[in-house]
């Protein structure tokens, strides 16, 4: 990426206040940590669950903008969950970006994540900047540009770009 592109990227402002995130992680403390990170990035609406069953119920009843899922504790069920999500073509969340967060990432996990339809795998531990960059990356992908990224013409150049839209 060229220097000017990096600079442009850094100047972009984002508004995640209206985006809703579904977090599924068996570890309550990790849910808390990720919630803290996402809150700092401007996310306000978060559904947090420790089980896939609860996450499944959430996607059946809510429209979400992003799913962050740690498959580690759930085995194949985590990949089946994403596959089911993608197969529900008429469902409100069929095309939602799915980022998998996993500490131990072997080839098997990466392959399964790709095959089930997840957008990205992020290795834990991750930096806050790394997570934010990946969220923006998946938001820009798959024709979803504009859902999570504020158009330049409506972004204030003063104050926090995260909050002003």
């Amino acid at each position: 990426m060229s220097g000017s592109a990096v600079s442009l990227k850094q100047q972009l402002s984002f508004n995640f206040a209206n985006a809703s995130v579904l977090l599924i992680d068996a570890s309550p403390i990790f849910l808390e940590v990720v919630t803290g990170v996402l809150s700092g990035c401007g996310f306000r609406r978060m559904f947090r669950y420790q089980t896939l069953r609860a996450g499944l119920d959430a996607v059946k009843t809510h429209s979400v903008s992003l799913i962050l899922l740690d498959p580690c504790a759930f085995g194949d069920e985590a990949f089946n969950f994403v596959q089911w999500l993608r197969s529900e073509r008429r469902g409100p969340n069929a095309g939602v970006p799915v980022i998998m967060l996993a500490a131990y990432t072997n080839v098997r996990l990466i392959t399964a994540a790709r095959q089930c339809g997840a957008d990205y795998v992020i290795a834990k531990p991750f930096s806050t900047q790394g997570l934010l960059e990946r969220i923006i990356f998946v938001a820009e992908s798959e024709g979803r540009r504009g859902e999570l990224i504020a158009p330049a013409e409506v972004v204030s150049t003063t104050g926090s770009g995260m909050e002003l839209w």
């Binding site: 940590v33 700092g40 580690c72 500490a103 995260m162």
Partner: protein
């Protein structure tokens, strides 16, 4: 983006002490799970140990306990490589390292690096032993 990252890190610092305590508790939990497992652990026991270890591996580096996280990562690697069996001595060695690293700055940076290298060495030796077993691909 810089402002967002700064704010996110403030949030992270806020939950940091609780997260560190959770790491310490998880190490105790892993010890309990390993002690309770037979020499041939059930898939369910392996999964519980792996899940708890994975949590330490993921969280350690986010709350300033990088070395503890790396040892946990090495244990995840070991469990993965030796599945469906396991090597109890190697697992116990990892647990000893985690016990030491529960305390911040318990050992010097040099000793920590040597400890981590040693665990990698143990995994290499075990991998070579597996390759020599009859029926292995090598």
């Amino acid at each position: 983006m810089a402002e967002a990252v700064e704010r996110a890190e403030l949030h992270l610092a806020y939950v940091g002490p609780k997260a560190v305590q959770s790491l310490v508790d998880s190490v105790v939990e892993i010890e309990r799970l390993v002690a309770g497992a037979a020499d041939d652990p059930t898939p369910e026991q392996r999964r519980e140990i792996y899940t708890a270890t994975n949590m330490v591996a993921g969280l350690g580096g986010m709350v300033g306990r990088d070395a503890l996280g790396k040892v946990a990562y090495s244990l995840c690697h070991l469990l993965d490589e030796t599945e469906p069996s396991w090597d109890r001595e190697a697992v116990n060695l990892h647990l000893s390292a985690m016990r030491i690293l529960r305390q911040p700055d318990a050992i010097s940076a040099k000793a920590t690096a040597e400890l981590l290298d040693g665990l990698v060495g143990v995994r290499r030796v075990l991998a070579r032993e597996r390759e020599r077993l009859p029926g292995s691909a090598a």
